[in-house]
């Protein structure tokens, strides 16, 4: 389903963030991507939804061949893969409701359907009472949850989250984990980069440890195994 073969990524500034990476993730998997800061986790994740293109190697996501993907087709990949961005990337001029609705309008869903689903996902992340607020009126954790709601609104086959619990207090973080678990149970592949050892160790899933731009460890029901 997601397959990377012999992937290298060298940024224009000369830094090689991914250095010969091979991995295969099946539909329905729940994967933690762990590793020290600067190891290449975000870069790895960005190559799945084509924010970055590998310098060498192949990346396949579903039926999409990301290296040869035409620019015109990129929007369709981005609907197939829901992304929770590390910096949220909410539209500043749109309310919470409209931000989530936007992702559904893009796909051409009916207003009625949008109305229903938006409230549904906002309830799931516990923000139903803040639908009319603008992103700058929300706390970091609340923005994070809006970003998650938007990413899952279209029921993507793959959900990617770069440190989705990074800005949250433990209780909200566990709430988010419940949401992700539930989406995963519905068959969505979850790929989540995290530094949260508590979560990784308690909710056991496959662990991909990235170090120096390669997979250093790939373990079913693995442990976090890094300090702090």
């Amino acid at each position: 389903m997601i397959e990377m073969t012999n992937v290298y990524k060298k940024y224009p500034n000369g830094i090689t963030a991914i250095n010969g990476l091979d991995v295969r993730i099946d539909q329905g998997d729940f994967v933690y991507v762990v590793g020290p800061s600067g190891a290449g986790k975000s870069t790895f994740i960005k190559m799945i939804y084509r924010e970055e293109v590998p310098t060498k190697g192949t990346v396949k996501v579903g039926d999409f061949d990301l290296v040869n993907l035409k620019a015109k087709k990129v929007p369709y990949l981005r609907r197939f893969v829901g992304v929770v961005y590390q910096d949220f990337k909410l539209l500043p001029r749109l309310t919470v409701f409209e931000n989530v609705a936007y992702a559904m309008q893009v796909v051409g869903k009916k207003p009625k359907q949008i109305q229903k689903r938006v409230l549904e996902v906002l309830e799931l992340v516990g923000l139903k009472h803040k639908v009319r607020m603008f992103p700058n009126e929300l706390s970091g954790g609340e923005q994070q949850r809006v970003a998650i709601a938007r990413a899952i609104a279209n029921m993507p086959r793959v959900l990617i989250a770069d440190e989705p619990t990074g800005n949250l207090d433990p209780e909200t973080a566990w709430g988010i984990m419940d949401v992700l678990e539930e989406i995963n149970n519905q068959g969505t592949t979850i790929i989540m980069a995290t530094h949260n050892s508590d979560i990784v160790n308690r909710v056991r899933h496959r662990v991909l440890a990235v170090e120096n731009g390669r997979i250093a460890r790939d373990q079913e029901e693995g442990l976090y195994e890094y300090e702090g």
Binding site: Y49, E51, A71, K72, V74, P75, Y76, L77, R78, R79, V83, Y85, K89, L90, L91, P92, R93, Y102, A103, Q105, V106, V107, G108, K110, P111, R150, N154
Partner: protein, 295 residues
């Protein structure tokens, strides 16, 4: 595109204009000021041009017939005159008619020349198809038999034609330059407005919007701003032209001069201003977001 999507784009663009507040206002004002300038200049220059043409049209060639010419000689001359290229109309005016015109213009003292004392010639008055042909027509008429003299205001008229030609060319250049300036200013204002929304466009791309899904609301928004901006100069110019037209025409009554009538002239200016506003607004914003779409 689905009707629902079109409707969504229209709603979205109105919402965006409202939320962008003073940015929209700035863009509308820029469009209004520029188009007011363009519209006023066009209205003034085209009317000056019209007056110039009226003056030129007024220049005709007077062919004085030799006193010795018999009636058949006059008829032959008239035929010859009509054959000259660029001669549109040949009108005969007898010496008696000429005299009564002089008396009409200058007073009864000339009445003593009445009858056989009339010193004037019979005249053929030629109208040319184009003002520029006047001198050439006069030249050819002079060579014909039984022509005593030819007169068309000579050097004065030539000079006038030259001046008019210059006015016309300069006017055309100014109008073209003004339209270019308007296009540039409007497009630039919209570009700045959109530049502030760069990240917004990038985010839209990241959540899976196609380029046209992003482009349409911007295009409609730009066209709306252009339209609203054009309405202001259109109202001002229409009001001034309509109220000024009657006043000016009453001054000009009895002369050969006339301003361009509001129908169709004013309608054409209004259409032009609206077209520039809407066209540049819509097209300009669609173009401005192009480079932000490459994410």
């Amino acid at each position: 595109m689905k009707a629902r999507t079109i409707w969504r784009h229209i709603k979205e663009s109105f919402k965006s204009i409202k939320r962008n507040g003073w940015m929209s206002l700035a863009a509308v004002s820029a469009v209004a000021v520029t188009l007011l300038l363009v519209g006023s200049f066009i209205a003034i220059l085209l009317n000056v041009n019209k007056l110039a043409s009226d003056v030129e049209e007024d220049v005709s060639v007077r062919v004085y017939i030799d006193l010795a010419a018999e009636e058949e000689d006059q008829e032959a001359l008239q035929e010859n005159l009509e054959e000259i290229e660029d001669v549109e109309l040949v009108v005969y005016s007898s010496r008696d008619e000429e005299l009564s015109q002089v008396i009409g213009s200058y007073g009864d003292e000339f009445g003593l020349f009445d009858g056989d004392d009339n010193p004037l010639h019979d005249v053929f008055i030629l109208n040319t198809s184009a003002p520029e042909a006047t001198a050439e027509v006069a030249d050819q008429a002079e060579d014909l038999n039984y022509v005593a003299d030819v007169n068309y205001g000579g050097a004065t008229a030539d000079r006038l034609f030259e001046v008019m030609e210059t006015v016309r060319n300069v006017g055309a250049v100014i109008i073209v330059a003004l339209i270019f300036t308007a296009v540039f200013l409007i497009a630039n204002t919209i570009r700045i407005t959109i530049f502030s929304r760069k990240t917004e466009i990038e985010i839209m791309k990241l959540v899976g919007a196609t380029n046209w899904f992003i482009r349409w609301p911007f295009l409609i928004e730009g066209a709306l701003i252009g339209f609203i901006g054009a309405l202001i100069p259109v109202s001002i110019i229409s009001y001034i032209y309509l109220s000024g037209f009657d006043t000016m025409m009453s001054y000009l009554s009895g002369t050969y001069f006339a301003l361009l009538p509001p129908n169709p002239f004013l309608i054409q200016i209004v259409a032009l201003l609206l077209a520039i506003g809407i066209g540049i607004g819509g097209f300009g914003s669609a173009l401005s977001i192009r480079k932000f779409l490459k994410v």
